[in-house]
């Protein structure tokens, strides 16, 4: 489509917008505006629209009474089941008591196969195309070279980084487009791999900036989003120092046959255009005592997960016994996702 034609289409779309959009653009969500919506919505016989009418007016999930939560979940289960042609469950299970989730990733072991990325997409109902959304990035980096002059500052590791008294310096270079690398074989001789996802910060800057408080930290440490209240302002994306949030630029494309029907309200239930999403440590699984999809699928056991409050958990043992990294310049967000080597 030529640029002019595209522009015209956009303009037409804007011109063709409804009274609801008009009222919205005037900047007043007034009684008149709501009346307009009401007329519009009650005028339709579509079951889905009626369900969504209630959704439109539901309050922020964390402020709901138990009864309201139950109703909201029932509405969604009905709508999703109709939409995807199968029985969809939406769990509302709260955080378990005495659990604070933590994650540890062994960068020495990761072979860059990206199975975690695919498993995450499948488990968490991410959009498959236009855009293809992935919550985990596995970045391929070139291995650095050991330089003799750094000899007294530490010792070289396999990863081309200097580890020692004055710590760890990344010698890798990430190349343009390496996010979607597709090597015939992994691991490659001259590369190492660095997976990144939401760090579930203890002090999450994304939460602080959300103007409608729809993203918040749960007692088990997981930072969640109530998609129904997200206004898509992208403030949280700007605030996240780990680039962990994803925005739904288009209506997500989730084929019916690929939709995972075991969902959680605050996790992997289907999202809509214009909202933000991110890793939730698969809370639909982990709150039931299961591992995250990425931990389960990793063929080399590079990914470890557990309860930071339990001294016997794997993640606590790693923190105790392994070489764990932190950013040289402290961002003061207290991530609960750690990188380590043996």
């Amino acid at each position: 489509m030529k640029r002019e034609d595209k522009k015209t289409t956009i303009e037409k779309n804007i011109e063709g917008s409804t009274r609801r959009d008009f009222l919205k653009k005037t900047g007043s969500l007034s009684v008149a505006g709501l009346a307009g919506v009401a007329t519009l919505m009650t005028g339709t016989k579509d079951a889905q629209a009626r369900v969504t009418w209630a959704e439109w007016f539901q309050t922020n999930y964390r402020l709901m009474t138990e009864e309201e939560k139950r109703e909201a979940i029932e509405r969604l289960e009905k709508r999703y089941s109709e939409e995807y042609g199968k029985k969809v469950t939406v769990d509302g299970r709260p955080a378990q008591k005495n659990v604070l989730f933590g994650y540890a990733l062994n960068i020495q072991k990761c072979i860059g196969c990206r199975r975690c990325v695919k498993a995450c997409v499948k488990e968490n109902n991410q959009s498959r195309h236009d855009p293809e959304i992935e919550w985990i990035r596995v970045i391929r980096m070139e291995k650095g070279k050991f330089s003799a002059e750094d000899m007294d500052k530490g010792y070289p590791s396999d990863y081309g980084i200097q580890v020692g008294g004055n710590a760890y310096k990344n010698a890798g270079v990430v190349l343009e487009g390496q996010h979607y690398y597709q090597p015939e074989r992994v691991p490659e001789k001259d590369a190492f791999y660095f997976p990144i996802q939401c760090m579930q910060c203890e002090k999450p800057p994304c939460v602080k900036v959300c103007p409608v408080r729809t993203t918040y930290r749960e007692p088990d440490g997981i930072v969640v989003i109530d998609y129904n209240w997200c206004i898509g302002c992208r403030m949280c994306m700007g605030a996240c120092p780990y680039w962990a949030r994803r925005f739904n630029w288009g209506e997500p494309n989730l084929p019916k046959e690929e939709m995972n029907p075991d969902t959680h309200y605050l996790g992997n239930r289907p999202r809509m255009k214009g909202v933000v999403e991110k890793c939730t440590f698969c809370l639909q699984r982990t709150r039931k005592g299961r591992y995250t999809a990425c931990v389960e699928v990793c063929p080399v056991g590079a990914r470890k997960f557990g309860n930071l409050l339990d001294p016997e958990s794997e993640v606590r043992r790693i923190l105790e016994r392994k070489r764990v990294f932190r950013l040289r310049v402290d961002l003061n967000t207290f991530p609960k996702f750690f990188y380590f080597i043996d």
Binding site: K6, T9, S17, D21, T52, A167, P211, E251, G274, L319
Partner: protein, 104 residues
């Protein structure tokens, strides 16, 4: 892809009317516009750019990549240090204390 969906891709957040899903977009877009105005006035240039570009984006895949790829370079430019045993102990202690405090 049908002509209708192609058209829809030409708009960013504010979706055309007529179906239920788009009512979410309506509320979001209203408050979003206010928030964007606030962001542009109240934050630094990088954040304002990240936030404000939402208004004009068209191709979802390209827009998505424009969100994601710059992050790779930022993340990789960062330096990491090995935590000392003392630091690790302190971290665990802080996390546990935080948990207790939050739950009263």
């Amino acid at each position: 892809m049908g002509e209708e969906s192609k058209k829809e891709l030409t708009l960013s957040v504010s979706a055309p009317s007529g179906t239920s899903k788009e009512d979410h977009a309506s509320r979001r877009t209203f408050i979003k516009n206010l928030a964007i105005a606030g962001a542009v006035i109240g934050t630094n240039a990088l954040v304002a750019k990240k936030v404000a570009s939402v208004v004009l984006e068209k191709d979802p895949q390209r827009a998505y990549l424009e969100d994601v790829l710059p992050g790779d370079r930022v993340m990789m430019a960062r330096e990491y240090v090995v935590m000392t045993d003392e630091e690790k102990k302190r971290l665990v202690k802080t996390l546990i204390e935080n948990y207790k405090k939050r739950l009263g």
